[in-house]
Amino acid sequence: QQAKEQFFPVLVYRTGAYAPNGVPWANGFIDYLKLTNARGGINGVKISFEECETGYATDRGVECYERLKGKNGGAAMFQPLSTGITFALTEKAPVDKIPLITVGYGRSESQDGGVFKWNFPLAGTYWVAGDVIIQHIAKKEGGFDKLKGKKIALVYHDSPFGKEAIPILQQRATMHGYQLTLLPVPHPGVEQKSTWLQIRQQRPDYVINWGWGVMNSTLLKEAQAVGYPRDKIYGVWWAGAEPDVKDIGEGAKGYNAVTMQHGAEPNAPFIKEILEKVHGKGQGTGPKDEVGSVLYVRGAMSAMLAVEGVRAAQERFGKGKVMTGEQVRWGLENLNLTQAKLDALGFKGVMRPISTSCQDHMGAAWARIHTWNGSKWEFTSDWYQADEQILKPMVRAAADKYAAEKKIQRRTPQDCQS
């Protein structure tokens, strides 16, 4: 029966400059949806889904959004998978009453649910990523006080995505007295010679890589070409997957990246389940050997969070029913994924609990560091939690500025109940 299906729009990019990274994410996302169906749906509600190719272009993304939002009974959430598209949809979602889930990307200040009622940067924002990287470096150096006088260079994709990291790194720089150099790399990032000339000149102690797509592999190759030690380079979680390092192999050995909790998880229970129930039945979306890779898991996890959002909404608005965008929004805002729940879903060892609230749309600020050993990614650190003391005021200030510009009122406590 038709009405019993919950529609998931899937914005992807399987072509163009960022396709190598977009494809595994999309495959993971779809496979997880298929797995959920194989598990019997969300309390019996099956999932239907449709892909739309954005090519990472904002206008195509907007078109996809418009196309899919009314389809198959209506979309109850969107995952734009691009910072640019997120910005554009942030204006549209409140009007259409559809929540936006941006797992690990998008506006960092949208964590503030008091202003960004419809945005859900679940499981981590760029400020979390930046904060954790600095914490890790500090730990390596033997404490925050050791950072004083150190040089850190941020090599970033010259776009809103790349610039997201700057505020937190600057904030920390003023606190700890390291010297931050900003080195933008224009899209798509294949030309970094002058960047690395500058790095050779300044000899920073660490390089932080805020890249995406081909920029990452180029960056590592340039690092190799000028002999910069790869183990002094830290990437954001969009710069820490297999396509970024695979064809460099040994040359990228030692390169680190912060993870959005998970890494490559070939042994996670839910991956095994996917291999068995989806790929095993010949319904796998991509090649089998990609299952469990970093971006694949990111896709699957993004799908899981959306599914759990729907499930949470069902808890309140009626189990076994198809949820609307508003209802899912409530679900996402009242997500409480305990460790037990996660384990049951097969995410044991992959991630930590997430619980959201009206004020906090992120739900968790945990991250680890993993390192490329020449053939695969390995965890090389413990869990870190981003420093609330630092992030909270930043989020608040940025959100307030946005609210003022947009003339939006902060949500009242009653509104939070709704």
Binding site: E53, D59, H187
Partner: protein, 358 residues
């Protein structure tokens, strides 16, 4: 036999100089405009408005602007994206920095700023020609991309370089729903379309075309290349700037410089070439072709695959879309190198003599 001019005698030059001298054309266009204002809002659904009609209208407007520069004045420009960006960001600044700035005024201010920038980057055209001029305009493109990302002032110091607007209204009329946005854009397009058409069939338009076709001869009959070229840059970038402001304000609502990247410049140039250089009508055809066709293919191909029971993957669809789109461009050019507008007029020509072959 419907398309006959017989019996339509022009008794004055004024009549012969109307925008559409042939009565059928006139009626057709009037009907079309009326339909666009009245019929479309009744018929189209939200997707159609937001994903197709609004972008189509705004890009048509931009294409008209580009066509004035490239098609009429013959100055190849790859900086249109930048001029759109200038329009959008300056309109944004006008809008947020001045309390109570009316929306239309903000959009026009955006256009004016684009005019200034356009004229500045048009200065090399006095010396540099053809494809070589394209670099001058590319310099504009890359410089503006950079400036809007890097110079905080333009984005009201938003750290990410992206800006957004909301609460748009004109004289108390709130522009919220897709239909309202559509009508708002349509109004702009109609007004600017008519103004542009008037310009290109007046002296200034003839000066542009003369410069395009043979600049030495143009100079000999007293046309000042400086004036002709710079005025083309000015008019063109004004229209493009307004289109850019509309793109940001009405279509996207929130944007970053990437929305006006080099790809946009190319896209606009393609529109005018495919549509027909030196044809206002062609700008619409071109915009329709470049905006609508990929979207159409993107939805049509899976459906087609479905008919034959093939499940076409998203990637395959978009690859096929690329290939078909490319092939169609080539095919149209072979059929008619002067663009869709020319094809249209040849079609009309045939209709005129129909049922005879010549």
């Amino acid at each position: 036999m419907i398309y006959r001019e017989n019996g339509q005698f022009k008794t004055s030059y004024r009549e012969d100089q109307q925008i559409f001298p042939i009565a059928q054309d006139r009626w057709f266009i009037l009907a079309l405009v009326a339909f666009a204002f009245v019929g479309v809002p009744l018929l189209a659904d939200e997707y159609f408005f937001r994903a197709i009609l609004i972008p189509f209208l705004i890009l048509s407007l931009a294409a008209i602007g580009v066509n004035i520069l490239v098609g009429y004045c013959g100055q190849i420009s790859l900086g249109s994206g930048a001029f759109m960006a200038v329009g959008a960001y300056m309109a944004y600044n006008a809008f947020v920095r001045f309390e109570g700035m009316p929306l239309i005024a903000a959009l026009l201010i955006g256009g004016l700023c684009a005019t200034v920038v356009g004229m500045f980057f048009g200065i090399p055209s006095l010396r540099v020609k053809g494809l070589y001029l394209a670099v001058a305009t590319l310099a504009a493109q890359f410089f503006c991309d950079w400036a809007f990302l890097r110079i905080g002032w333009f984005t009201n110091n938003n750290p990410s370089g992206s800006v957004s607007v909301s609460n748009l209204s004109v004289l108390g009329w709130r522009i919220d729903t897709p239909v309202e946005k559509y009508l708002f854009c349509l109004g702009f397009v109609v007004v600017f379309g008519v103004l542009a058409k008037n310009l290109v069939r007046s002296t200034i338009g003839r000066e542009w075309m003369a410069i395009r076709d043979m600049d030495v001869a143009a100079a000999v009959i007293g046309i000042r290349p400086v004036y002709a070229k710079l005025s083309a840059f000015a008019v063109s970038s004004f229209i493009v700037g307004v289109a850019g402001a509309l793109w940001g304000f009405i279509h996207l609502g929130s944007w970053e410089p990437a929305a006006f990247s080099i790809d946009r410049s190319f896209q606009l140039l393609f529109m005018v070439i495919i549509g027909g250089l030196g044809s206002i009508m062609g700008s619409f055809f071109g915009a329709a072709f470049i905006v609508v066709l990929p979207i159409f293919l993107n939805q049509f191909l899976p459906w087609l695959g479905g008919l034959f029971g093939i499940d076409v993957s998203t990637a395959a669809v978009s690859h096929a879309e690329y290939m078909i789109f490319g092939a169609l461009i080539v095919w149209f050019l072979i059929v008619e190198p002067h663009g869709l507008a020319k094809l249209w007029s040849v079609g009309k020509q045939k209709l005129r003599i129909w049922p005879f072959p010549h």
